[in-house]
Symmetry: C2
Subunit: 360 residues, 2 copies
């Protein structure tokens, strides 16, 4: 399992040059949901501002122009990922300065920092670690169907497409569950989630035969520490390119419950516009019937991401119509809070426990 | 794309020590369906026999005890794969002799011959090639939804579980189609199929995000050369460990038609006996509805593998009941020939062409 040791409680600097906050998903995720204390964001285009100036849900963390201007920290985290996952050479001075100041460097790029001759030599000289979280653990193997054996309730966010909010919904539910005193954990499956959580396996990077096995390994690990797990789903079960990962996560996680995530108004597969999305009820049926022979999970709630809908009333109406489509409670968890989804998740878990106890 | 150059037409020796023919799936496949001429099988337990002594559907190829006893050949092919895919050190003298005699060596093991210091040095000295077909092409990427654009009709064998005959059915259909004068091709997706075909990508070994992309690449390549493609499916769509690969092949191949393969009497997932197989009609529905948003394929025929059923009458009755379950023609293609499946496949292709032409 790829781990970023000691992430929790660390003081970290997050690099997001030119992309903060709109195109800096990892940086925003770490600021919103991470266990580490972010002491600065690097964005040379916004130096002198604070994160809260850009988004009201972010803290008053200073945005500075370079690592040289950042306060003391334990680690530098690369909080943006260019298309293709390459390393932008304009970041090199910041990474160099970070290493020279004794910071570990954490990245989720396809380009591995540890394979960069300059960074590797510098890191050794300064006794710091370079963590490339996209590098999957070579020990991961085929699934053995063991996820059902964990004591924790397992909730998986699934979607109608890529980029509909599956990771965000899982993290919002995590926060809300903890606020209610539930011992909840987050199981990341992609590099952004892994960087936010500080541990995990990039399921989309493992050998295809090991897709379910990689998720199973994470579930078993997190299940030892928590009563309720929110697992980050990927892609969609009918995506022309990424359905393999979706299906492997569905069967590897053996979830007790599913939360279906959708972006209001999306009608075609993002980036694959010649493919129409099927009707919402078809997704519910497909996910449930595919899951049935392995773990038997139901879609217990829906999360709608009403991007582009400005008025609250219109968003409420979109949410109501979505709830009708899936036959379960639904909400826009960002605008209205994730309480309704959490109620449904906890209610379904109660029902299952009732059934299990009754059967004894 | 992993290629085994010049496999077609070559004279080859197939290594199958101690496992021929029952546990030598690759060796038997190459003998039955390969384009190369097999000049000897290596099995020290059966030296002095011929392949036809062991199975009546195999040719009169001599079985010899070691490479030193084999006739002239262009290549040695490792025709067995121990559990775990390791290299058995008892094979080393045969591989050494083959290289010294100027033979290429082809293997589908997890252990790569090209990474073995002795073999690599010897191969260089004797100017022969070491082909490790399990090594996926590093250039493979995400699918782009292009498989539908090939001119060839694409038929995918799908299954209710692992090891139900998906590769064999595809190869039987290939042979039968060619016998009828159809320009048909085989698209392998696993190492046995790749070794038989002499080309292909091991889809189960690529990065999970590229599962559909790897199949798409093969379809585009084979589609340039043939009018009808039989694609080797893998696993099952509800397999606790391997469904990711199954789903990626289904969406990456964008098949026009599906042939559902099943082993009579199998009720539980092989090797995962705590998981029941769902009813056969559920598989038909799941495969068709999962395929629908991407390519819209129907299950047009079924292949039943009645392992353990000895009497023809009983096998006929099992086949009839299976045909009822899938609502399409079905046959045991080994016992009764694949004609009925091929009729259904060609008929469905005719229907599609009729619809397409009518729509112009």
């Amino acid at each position: 399992m790829a781990e970023t040791p000691d992430a929790g409680g660390d003081r970290i600097v997050v690099l997001a040059h030119g992309q903060f906050p709109e195109r800096a998903k990892t940086a925003v995720g770490v600021l919103r949901y991470g266990d580490s204390e972010v002491v600065a964001v690097l964005d040379r285009d916004h130096a002198g501002t604070v994160a809260a100036d850009h988004r009201s849900d972010l803290p008053e963390v200073p945005v500075v122009g370079s690592m040289a201007d950042a306060p003391d920290a334990d680690a530098l985290l690369i909080g943006i990922a260019p298309i293709g996952g390459g390393f932008d050479e304009s970041w090199r001075p910041d990474v160099r300065t970070a290493i020279e100041r004794g910071c570990d460097v954490v990245a989720g790029l396809h380009y591995f920092l540890a394979d960069d001759d300059e960074f590797a030599a510098l890191a050794e000289a300064h006794d710091v670690a370079l963590h490339d979280v996209r590098k999957p653990d070579p020990d991961i193997g085929v699934a053995e169907g063991r996820s059902a054996a964990v004591d924790a309730d397992v909730v998986l966010t699934v979607g109608t497409d890529c980029s509909v909010g599956k990771m965000t919904v899982a993290l919002e539910l995590l926060e809300a569950a903890r606020d209610r005193g539930v011992d909840a954990g987050f199981v990341p499956t992609g590099q952004t989630g892994i960087m936010i959580a500080g541990w995990g396996t990039p399921v989309d990077r493992v050998v295809s035969d090991f897709t379910a096995g990689a998720v199973e390994e994470s579930i078993l690990e997190a299940g030892r520490d928590h009563d309720l797990l929110f697992v980050e789903g990927q892609g969609s079960i009918v995506h022309p390119a990424y359905s393999a990962v979706t299906c492997g996560i569905l069967h590897g996680a053996m979830p007790d419950a599913l939360v279906l995530c959708h972006e209001a108004g999306r009608e075609r597969v993002h980036g694959y516009e010649s493919f129409d999305l099927p009707p919402i009820p078809e997704y519910v049926d497909l996910y449930e019937r595919l899951a049935a022979p392995v773990s038997g999970s139901a879609v217990v709630a829906g999360a709608l991401n009403p991007d582009g809908i400005d008025a609250d009333a219109e968003a409420r109406s979109a949410v109501d119509s979505y709830a009708d489509d899936i036959g379960a409670p639904a909400i826009d968890p960002i605008r209205f809070g994730p309480g309704a989804i959490l109620d449904a998740v906890l209610g379904a878990a109660e029902d299952r426990r009732g059934r299990t106890d009754g059967g004894r």
